[in-house]
Symmetry: C2
Subunit: 181 residues, 2 copies
DNA sequence: GGATGAATACTGCCGTTGGCAGTAAGTAGA
DNA sequence: TCTACTTACTGCCAACGGCAGTATTCATCC
């Protein structure tokens, strides 16, 4: 069982889902701190069933089949046990920072474009988070928990904006990427 | 060419390296925002050579062979072009946050342990960053750039500590993970 | 001087993941 | 009825992670 498996098990603990619904839900919530491609979300529930942590049942909309997954008691127990285990350290993948880190291989203009894009991206995501906070909650009884998670994400995006703004002002004083002027 | 390829090309732009040295250098710097396993770093330079962006030469320490990679002019040009291209959005993998997000499947004690571990981990990494800042620089002429990168990392770790401290205080008021009391 | 352990310098193997493309049925609106 | 969008997946392959294993050299201690 991988972390992705437990993440999906966590969603199944809330209610039964079809894989398609799971994929949508992951994109709206989990993907902020556990990003996985849609493709993976169609394989993983099958493994949960194989492990006895979920059951699958087939439903039909006309001729079109869909699979609904539901958590088992063993699944709930496994999730509970997993919640008590230590976590791997977080890991950040930031392609823009690679460009910043090797900025002396290019010119100041390129670096400024990269920094501006970082700030813009963070502003867009922050706006998205604020829209989510103001919008409807699919699980109002879990609001106290989603509030915790959302807050960290907001703070991290804000940190990114603040840093990019500061960095851009610093770089504005440079003669070239190879000399701080 | 992948981002990992350009990241290594960026290091080769600084000086020639053996793969082993590259691996060490990645662990100390790049892995903060572009984490890759050591294994990958032994394959990727071969692809840089195949693309004409680097050359490989074999040296010997007694009987033991080692491969030294060096950037080519084509490699420098490719790096410069890549620095001007748009970046993929950052992505964060945070297993601990998955545990926080599904905390209502377990008890308050487990959640508090997870939050404490998050803060501790961030404090350790922050101390590491501060030690790096006070230590020696392998490339003193690049200090103005590494300073930018280091600052973002420090701010992000500090954000994590602040959030975990706040979250822990919030959770301390809860009766159970399923009710905010 | 010989043993021991750490550092150097990789390769092999295999399971996981990402990303793109493709298929096919149902649904809402012009 | 045509079109475009949504639902509901599967196939394929390259990239990646993680562990184990091999072999040489170097530093240290007894």
């Amino acid at each position: 069982m991988t972390t992705t498996g437990y993440a999906l098990l966590g969603l199944l603990a809330l209610r039964p889902w079809t894989t398609y619904e799971l994929a949508q839900q992951v994109r709206r919530s989990l993907s902020w701190f556990w990003p996985r491609t849609e493709r993976k979300l169609y394989d993983e529930p099958k493994r949960l069933v194989a492990a006895g942590f979920a059951t699958a049942r087939e439903e039909f909309t006309g001729k079109r089949k869909r699979t609904v997954y539901e958590i088992t008691d063993a699944g709930r127990a496994a999730l509970r046990a997993w919640l008590g285990e230590p976590s791997a350290p977080p890991s950040m993948e930031n392609e823009a920072m690679v460009r910043v880190f090797f900025a002396d291989g290019g010119d100041v203009a390129s670096l400024q474009v990269t920094l501006a894009a970082m700030a813009d991206g963070a502003r867009v995501r922050l706006a998205e988070l604020e829209a989510m906070e103001g919008g409807e909650y699919p699980f109002p009884e879990r609001r106290h928990i989603t509030r915790l998670a959302m807050r960290l994400q907001q703070r991290q995006e804000q940190t990114m904006i603040d840093w990019a703004t500061w960095a851009s002002a610093e770089v504005a004083r440079w003669d070239a990427t190879t000399s701080p002027g």
